[in-house]
Subunit: 225 residues, 2 copies
């Protein structure tokens, strides 16, 4: 397993090599292809996961089948930890957005790590606090901004996390379909498509297959407020 990503993860930064070595013994590797689901909403859960490569979408399904995405998680990030501290069934489902490799860690093993090095729980607190902050932000956006604004914001967020400099802008290989992007910003696919078309029209972005190139970061930021 490629443990480089994990070694660099802030969560384990405080571990010495020996403790880290012991940890890696406990990890289970999981590989997912696009569209396959790791767990469903309501499942019991006793593991948390690290993303080694690829992307995972965390989402909820309404009784009528509509979906809403809570977050897109990428390499180096972790998820599925909530079921551990607050022992309840999974509150979201987790599905691969692209070819994805994960490292799973059982609750009991995490506990062992925490006992050895309390810094880890400080890191976990920080990770959770950050997530809560982001979610509160999204909540406010949903109330304050219109769909184009939310789309702009989502693109900027994805750019921040997955963007790479390209010749004429920032390449954001988000791997999401417009349908998924729509579920992420809480809007219909059609409306999101129109918002994207408008941005293209204005020369702010360029569309590629499951990717976007941001050409005018400033204007996009302006629109996202």
């Amino acid at each position: 397993m490629d443990i480089d990503v994990l070694r660099r993860a802030p969560l384990f930064a405080s571990l010495d090599d020996q403790a880290f070595g012991a940890l890696t013994e406990e990890l289970t590797e999981v590989d997912l292809s696009r569209g396959s689901t790791l767990f469903h909403e309501g499942d019991p859960g006793d593991q948390l996961y690290f993303i080694i490569s690829g992307k995972i979408k965390l989402g909820r399904t309404a009784p009528d089948g509509r979906e809403s995405l809570v977050a897109i998680m990428g390499p180096g990030e972790l998820f599925g930890e909530m079921a551990l501290f607050d022992p309840s069934p999974r509150s979201t489902s987790a599905t691969a957005v692209s070819e994805t490799r994960l490292a799973g860690l059982k609750h009991e093993n995490l506990k062992k790590v925490i006992e050895r090095s309390p810094d880890v729980s400080a890191q976990l607190l920080q990770a959770l606090a950050r997530r809560l902050r982001r979610t509160n932000e999204s909540l406010a956006d949903l109330v304050f901004s219109d769909v184009p604004g939310r789309v702009a914001k989502a693109l900027l967020d994805l750019a921040d996390r997955f963007g790479r400099p390209a010749t004429d802008g920032i390449l954001v290989a988000h791997e999401l379909t417009q349908e998924e992007l729509a579920q992420l910003v809480g809007a219909s696919r059609e409306t999101v498509n129109k918002a994207l078309a408008e941005f293209v029209q204005r020369g702010w972005i360029r569309l590629e297959a499951r990717a976007v190139v941001i050409l005018d970061l400033q204007r996009l930021k302006q629109r996202s407020r």
Copy 2:
């Protein structure tokens, strides 16, 4: 200071009497009257707070002045902890919804408590995980449900946390104005008013001054899905 509420708080359940005694030495009492603000969005923050009595609304303000409430916190609950683990300015403002008494605890002192008894950080993790779960829930509701549905859900949530049995139903003395209730569910005051009027019409609730009596819990639950 009335420390009964604190002694019963799960966060401190694991402390022995001596440790708890030491902790109370570090607490600062704060009293707020309705409408006065403890901190604003963007302020630096080095304290977390326990609610001894009363209620606090946590909210965000849009550039144009509109407000959105992230949560209503009541007796026994804590808030303002995010700024500690994830050292950034306050992400929300905190304002008293009613006459409120708080106990403030500085970051450094919390650290001391955690060092002595690591169970406290487990409790903190649980509290954060629960909050994150709730916020994700709200996020999904905002997308899936219409305004009446969200109002119903908010009433049920408030009933769960602040409700008391009354002769003909559950008395929920939420202390919120309809404007605040509207900000909590992400809608306009007018629309919330209409939803409430409709519920009254149907005999599901009865309105009182800054309070609601839930008469037909079943129907209200039905409507909230």
